[in-house]
Amino acid sequence: MHSEEPEGNQVTPSTGQNLDPHLKRYAARAEGMTASEVRALFAVANRPEVVSLAGGMPNLAALPLDSIAAEVASLIAKEGLVALQYGSAHGLPALREQICDVMSLEGITGHPDDIVVTAGSQMALDLVTRIFIDPGDVVIAEGPSYVGALGTFASYQAQVVHVEMDAAGLVPEALRQALAVAQAQGRRVKFLYTIPNFQNPGGVTLDVIRRAEILEICRQAGVLVVEDNPYGLLGFEGQTYPALRSMDPDNVIYLGSFSKTFASGLRVGWALAPHAVREKLVLAAEAAVLSPPVLSQMIVSRYLSTHDWQGQIKSFQQMYRERRDTLLAGLDQHMPADCTWTKPDGGFFVWMTVPEGIDTKAMQPRAVTARVAYVPGIGFYADGFGSRQMRLSFCFPTLDRIREGVRRLAVVLEQEMELLRTFGPASRRISSGPQTPSPDTA
């Protein structure tokens, strides 16, 4: 037998090795940035064998790629010296004017100067949080809320207070109560973060009458409203709802995106903000990225001016409606009796509640084994709730894949319920959260 171990009677001298020499140097906001099993399992979801009902990736198959390619080639050839150069932190003026046209579809009258173009609306959210949030400040958000926003709030050490939703969206009375509690506790509430249309992950839309009430509550409480509206033009019947920004221009920061209506990979979004806020956002953007990508902005601008972008959105609406219908029909047909789910009339997502005792995070390995993926609900709460929920997205898979995914998921749920029956009520678990998926699955 051969060994390279030392000989002798002494304990082997050894210096402890920590694989991160910077461990003691991290800011408090980096706490919680750790490896997670949930993220690791999503690596499997990317394989074609797995039906992923997890990812929120828009389905770009319907885009006219050939004509977009021609436009991009022409753009580089004719305007390459501008397109490949730095730009302004504010964004290209021509694109800002076009963004006003886009927003007018939801009743917004905005001035191009009050728009800040960003690298996706995620960056706009980051900038808004950066200029408003001190550690410990409260952000109010729907419960559940967009996982990418929760990540941003956590990175600025905000305290997130979730407010309940029902089928008509955020519940005004619950918002009142949350504000009152925060006030009684002496906590500083900076803004309400809301996705009013086809919410991610809830799939519900804020009732139009409630919109005015929500705005009034926030105004009275001195709380800003951050309206995140990436899905607003994806109503399945072509319907749109009046943006909160259109109803209260002075107290709403509006976040928009081309990720769902054109191309997520270009990373072009924007914020429309009251003048003074916009000034700070531009400076914050300059500090963060100097300028949003000029080439991407020019591609979007060219697309808007040369393509029937509204017609394209209509085809997206139809495509996503078919997928939504297929998912809901599958759920009706296959899910166990105690499951409930939302019925979105736009957007990408269905929010499903599973029978009591099932922990969707703990069940995830079983689902991956069965070749189906979803996002466990706890990722959409900052406070550990959501263990009985999951988000199902219908935007990307084909209709057949959606049907198959639901069939597989039903088997997984049956198996999990069988386990719970075996081990009884004591086996009911509540996962600690949040352990979020990566943003590309959000």
């Binding site: 051969h2 390279e4 390995p365 009884g424």
Partner: protein, 315 residues
């Protein structure tokens, strides 16, 4: 410089896909650094075509869990007659199943924590509480629950109190139909890499694992900084020699080939317990094998390049 061309297999469809992809990237870079030409391939529907058309001189398996460790991929490579680094399919099947490996080693006189293996169906048919009570009676508390197959601590959990058992069982059984429950041995946790050489299997310096949280779970394993390592382990020379002997013995007795990693614990009374063996050890930035190779003064790339030569020589 070598003119060898190798295919590194990583990814796959197991729960450990993410770790495997990281292992594959790290290993590929290490092999390129010592002059080999490397292709990195996932195990998907195109693999056989690539293997048969591109005909690498050897295949290196950096797959973790499932097909990559249970002998399946090894069987395919054996059918194709392609040299590969690692344990043959038969021994993989034996080592992959933790209870089988434990039983084999106990029969050969090695020490391992007492254990029981039970499928979900037994709990369902006999009544979970009665079986759990018997389990606690036999093994005591705390006890360790883990899936009978698989790695990266996925589904593994120390159970300190009997009231935690039902929930821990459900967590564990999410990874497979059968659970391995074993006595929890408190002590110094070590991992010993064994590498075959012309002189026989050689144990590299043991790596001692001290997670900040007290539990070497998935997060502690793959978040740099959350675990402290001592290489070589802070053991007496006698204990260091014994853990090396244990790892080499496990490697030999289970018929392992080229490289393996044995996880063991040195109990407070000095007894050394075999926990489990890995035929495809992790090679990520936070994995134990690369630490052991570094402590041995050898590069990861050179060790695996030598193993590639051995695989080719075997034919």
């Amino acid at each position: 410089m070598s003119d060898r061309t190798v295919a590194v297999l990583s990814g796959g469809l197991s729960h450990e896909r993410d770790v495997s992809l990281r292992s594959g990237r790290r290993l590929s870079a290490a092999l390129r650094a010592v002059g080999l030409t490397v292709d990195e391939w996932d195990t998907d529907g195109s693999l056989l075509m690539k293997l048969s058309t591109q005909k690498p001189d050897a295949v290196v398996i950096a797959l973790h869990g499932g097909e990559g460790e249970n002998g399946s991929i090894q069987t395919v490579l054996e059918m194709l007659g392609l040299p590969f680094v690692g344990t043959d399919s038969h021994a993989c099947r034996r080592a992959w199943d933790k209870p089988t490996a434990k039983a084999d080693l106990v029969r050969s006189g090695l020490l391992t924590p007492d254990w029981v293996v039970l499928p979900h169906s037994t709990f369902r048919e006999l009544g979970a509480q009665a079986v759990l009570d018997a389990m606690v009676e036999r093994l005591g508390l705390p006890l360790m629950l883990k899936p009978d197959q698989g790695g990266s601590a996925l589904g593994a959990q120390v159970v300190w109190d009997a009231t935690e058992l039902p929930a821990a069982m459900v967590n564990c059984l999410a990874y497979g139909e059968t659970v391995l429950a074993e006595q929890f041995i408190s002590g110094t946790e070590v991992a010993v890499t064994v590498v075959d050489s012309d002189e026989g299997p050689v144990a590299l310096p043991a790596v001692e694992i001290t997670p900040e949280s007290g539990v070497y779970d998935y997060t502690s394993r793959y978040t740099a900084g959350l675990t402290n390592f001592h290489t070589p382990a802070r053991l007496s020379a006698k204990a260091a020699s014994e853990v090396a002997d244990l790892a080499v013995a496990a490697h030999r007795l289970l018929g392992l080939r080229d490289v393996s990693r044995t996880d063991a614990v040195v109990a407070e009374d000095g007894s050394i317990y075999f926990l489990e063996v890995n035929v495809s050890p992790g090679l990520t930035e936070t994995s134990l094998l690369p630490m052991a190779t570094e402590a041995a003064g050898r590069s990861l790339g050179q060790i695996y390049a030598d193993l590639v030569d051995r695989a080719i020589a075997r034919g």
